[in-house]
């Protein structure tokens, strides 16, 4: 059995790779290090780091953390440098936008200007901090998604985080719906294209109106499917107590080591930048 998202060489984006074939079973011992860790623990760690860096507003601290996170993701998941670079595109573009908006729209000491545009030192500092934070959280999210099978996460959340079985299995059923959506979309699109009048060039219609119709049909079909799924889940006894568990998911000693390691690195970096006097909090926004 293979682990996680599978061989995704050439997968155009993060999203398409997770939408691909459903992964089977839990990761084996041949899987990369991060793949073997408990999904709930990984999710909680990404959440904690994201929350902490929300309060950091100097460019240096998130840059250091980003480099460390990038090295961690590159070495502990099965992600080629090319795939990792490719996964950066959406949030790197966003980071660039954040940097330029802040550089141009913050009052302060002017370092460059042309016509109505002026770049300030304060704007560059805050923009740099926000852009590096975007990259940091982005690379953590990539590491999480690349190393975690969504099905294993839901089972882990149910067993390790006390998520109700009805909710957990409803979300899992929703995951199946999600995997079928592209095919469903194509079917509806074809059905509409058969009847709809062609464009002047003889192509199938591509107007927003046509798109709206396809989306609405998709919505109706999916609502029906949801109702049927709910009936079949209940008729198979979902929600009855007591439940037994096949393949229990545990939080192992290595998971606690991961927690300790990540929190220690985060603490050390924060302490170091604070000691050097470069760490800044939300006060940086006030200029």
């Amino acid at each position: 059995m293979t682990a996680v998202v599978g061989p995704d060489a050439g997968a155009s984006t993060l999203g398409t790779s997770t939408l691909g074939a459903p992964p089977l079973g839990a990761p084996t011992h041949r899987a990369p290090a991060l793949d073997r860790r408990n999904p709930t623990v990984k999710l909680a760690l990404v959440f904690v780091v994201s929350l902490v860096v929300m309060f950091v507003l100097d460019p240096v601290t998130p840059t250091v953390l980003y480099v460390l996170a990038l090295a961690g993701v590159a070495t502990t998941t099965r992600t080629s440098p090319r795939a990792l670079a490719h996964a950066h595109i959406p949030f790197a573009a966003f980071a660039l936008g954040v940097l330029s908006v802040n550089a141009l729209s913050r009052p302060g000491h002017e370092v460059w200007h042309a016509g109505p545009l002026s770049v300030t030192a304060e704007g560059l500092a805050v923009g740099g901090a926000l852009a590096m934070r975007t990259l940091l959280i982005g690379v953590l999210a990539v590491g999480f998604v690349r190393s975690t099978d969504p099905v294993a996460l839901m089972h882990s959340l149910r067993q390790n985080a006390r998520l109700g079985p009805r909710v957990a299995y409803a979300v899992l059923a929703g995951y199946r719906v999600l995997q079928d959506l592209p095919r469903e979309w194509a079917t509806i699109q074809h059905a509409h294209a058969v009847r709809a009048p062609r464009t002047r060039d003889g192509d199938p219609p591509r107007s927003p109106r046509h798109l709206g119709r396809v989306i609405f049909t998709l919505l109706v079909v999916t609502v029906r499917r949801g109702e049927r799924t709910a009936q079949s889940l209940e008729s198979r006894g979902l929600g009855l107590a007591p439940r037994t568990t096949w393949h229990p998911v545990r939080v192992a000693r290595a998971d606690w080591a991961l927690v300790a390691g990540v929190l220690m690195v985060l603490g050390l970096v924060l302490a170091a930048t604070a000691g050097l006097g470069v760490l800044r909090g939300p006060g940086a926004l006030a200029g």
Binding site: F47, G97, V98, V142, L178, V223
Partner: protein, 208 residues
Amino acid sequence: MSAPVRTARDPRAWEMKDLMLTVVLGVVFGFVYWALVQAWNGLAIAMGPAGDLAQHVLLGGWLLVAPVVVAIVRRPGAGVVAEILASVVEVVFLGSPVGPTLILAAALQGLGSELPFWITRYRRFGWTVFAVSGLLGAGLVFWFSAFRGGWYGQEVFALRLGMQLVSGVVLGGLLAKVIVDALARTGVLDNFAIGRAEIGHTQAERNE
């Protein structure tokens, strides 16, 4: 025939079909959004710094799922649950690079969107309630987004707030009512609270 096995369950607990509806709506909205974002990314890159501002136009769309689900299911908490589940789909299954803090933002959006329905005790579903829902949904989460995005102290702060509120009312409020009414007309919602309340609902709307 033997009596069906029943475990003691909280009568306020959600019915499975309501839960499933909430999940699948989160999935569909998440999917359509994901498809739109792919298209949008190219545009945002082309627009440079303006792309960061222009994305506020679409903000209201993220709020849609909460009022839609509240209007169909009509249970306290439906909006918050719907937003959280939709964000879980985005973060876990679609791999949103925003990361898990998106789930926090979603909870705030859901809270804001649900507030007007809660105040009217899930009995009024006219245009005004939907509009206020979009306004509060956008308005409440704005302060969190502003902190997360470092918008405080920017010269375009008020512009951002204005764009998000307008988008919230139109895309996150009024559009939700259009969708709910259209769905109800198809008959797929007949087995849900909205279908059961259909007669009373149209009556109430006439009196509005």
